[in-house]
Amino acid sequence: MITVTVRLMGNLIKISGTSSIQMRMEDGVVIKDLLEEIFRLYGEEMRHQVMDSSGKELAPYYKILVNGRNFNLLLGFDTPLQEGQVIHIMPPIAGG
């Protein structure tokens, strides 16, 4: 088993009621598995926010970071998770 920290931001905090979750997962899981677990815990509203209408891609401008790296620069939904990683699920962010 591995433990990862999931951090949520913006409107996702409102849906889940928390900004940080410690998750125990099986060895060998990937981002896709983690997301499913999160949607199971926090319901369909969370899924509808994070995923697009096809349910296969992230909603526009949403991002997932694995230890601060955009998961598109890794293996996307198939990026393997490792012990101690921090996963950010990030709605669109703006400013300057």
Partner: protein
Amino acid sequence: MIGGYAGKYLDVDLSTGKVDVRLLDKEMVEKYVGGGGFIAKILWDQLPPNADPLGWENILIITTGPMTATLAPTGGSWYVGFKSPATGIYGEGRGGGYFGPELKFAGYDTVILRGRSPEPVYLYIEDDKVEILPADELWGKDFFKTVDMLEEKYKGVRVLGIGPAGENLVKFACLMSDRYRAAGRGGAGAVMGSKNLKAIAVRGSKDINVADKEGFIKALKDANKTIFEHPATAKLLPDYGTSSLVNGMSAFGAFPTRNHRSGVFESAEKISGETMAETILVKTRGCYSCNIKCTRYTMVREGEYAGVESEGPEYETINAFGARCGIDNLEAIAMANMNANRLGLETISTGTLIAFAMELYEEGLLSKDECNGLELNFGNHQAMNRLLEDIAYRRGLGDILAEGVKEAAVKIGRGSEKYAMHVKGLELTATEPRAAQDSGLGHAVASRGGDHLRPWSPAYTLFSFGSEELGLGGTPDPIVPDDKARVVALMQRVSTFTDMNGMCKFTVLCNTLAPSQLAHLYTTITGISFTAEDVMQSAARVWNLQRALNTIKFGITSADDTLPHRFLNETAPDGPAKGKVVELDKMKKEYYSLEGWDDNGVPRRERILELGLDFVAEELGK
């Protein structure tokens, strides 16, 4: 007739008290648009290159753009230009609120301020009436009080001015308007103070004409549709303001922490937009003609800072008084923000100076006695707030820090230069460049020194806000230098143009509006036909004119296009950029080549001529 412009400008000599009203030149309009374009051209033509920035020869330019005072989205901008006392080079800033439109309603696009008044004065403008009046009663007052007094005297007036920091020639004093809007990084407030000018109060009753009303309404609908559909301008900025960036920037390892030692702040959440929305936020506000309304109005209701109320703090301010000083107390940051506004201190530089002093204290380079008796450890928010006031009034250590971080490091010595976070004398902003290499390049080559807004390229490189028209798509890798020169050059064009046309950069910061939409708005307002290419070309002209000023007149070379020691020599200790430094040389070489600059960073003759800047070519190689 050209639409969008008032068509006249004021030329005020504060030494003699002479005020001239002049007509705006057609070539000036067509080639330089307004804002930073007007500023660069006026400084090139009229400023003696070796003018002392705080001497009578310096020129302070307050200007607008053709969209200011129209219904163009965020058309409330005014700009200030000057030779910076912090950097000795080009100085420019943009302010929002309502002052800019009011100046145009009074009938003026621009005010040029020269000389130095023998006594403190303020300028009162009401349509054709322009008066220079004694400011004995205003001098010494903070900016809020100054606004109160002028509003009491002249109903409905809009005020721009300085606080005690500007009067005391603090080199990062800014101009304030409409109570809470700030502009003029690099010491515009000190320049105004050096002229003995406390404020400009303006009231106007005229209209601004739009050349093609029907066309403008179409262009406006199209632009507003995009603004209302883009997540940055439709959701995030309205909901959380710029503070929506705090958590995200820290997640990317790009949130400067403890004087830029790191880019990851362990307590980012405590000072985030989300936390602000739940605690001190009262309501949101917007500038003139703005539907985005990114501004937060906040009030601290309990605890040691109870009673503090102000607009903001914005993202940059939260970082400067928060993570950069190791402070995770949002109320203390709100206090520092309010005091900076009141005293007329620019928050980014002020926070940088305090963080610098904190690191020197922790490294044993400054003693408690030398720190005005303060225990200046990172995280000490009471000390931060005390030191902020000491800077504005130049007390003890505050007097040294008031010179700006570059000069303060020279004065302190003891190897403190390596902790001084600036480019060309302008303090750095809230992006950790090891985690966003493009930001390192952007800061190194920006025309006013350590500037993050021309462009704020992390919108694309970190947050993936691309642009079809600019050819920016996919997921760029922020921690490698590849392709960053192109990104910076392209996004620089668009933000330079919004700093010319009278709009707020938040319409383009995340690539919301495309160049073609800016062109459409400009064409219909002015009646001057502009394409997307013209937008890019006119911005390139102005950018290169600013660069020519810096290199040819103010002596900047490639060696000045650099970054603080830390980013080039110390690897990032944590976050996704762990082990990285900024690979500046590679990016800079590519950037110079894209811009058409020679190895020394000077625009080449061919480039200058292609941009229609023949008068610059004449000065090349002199």
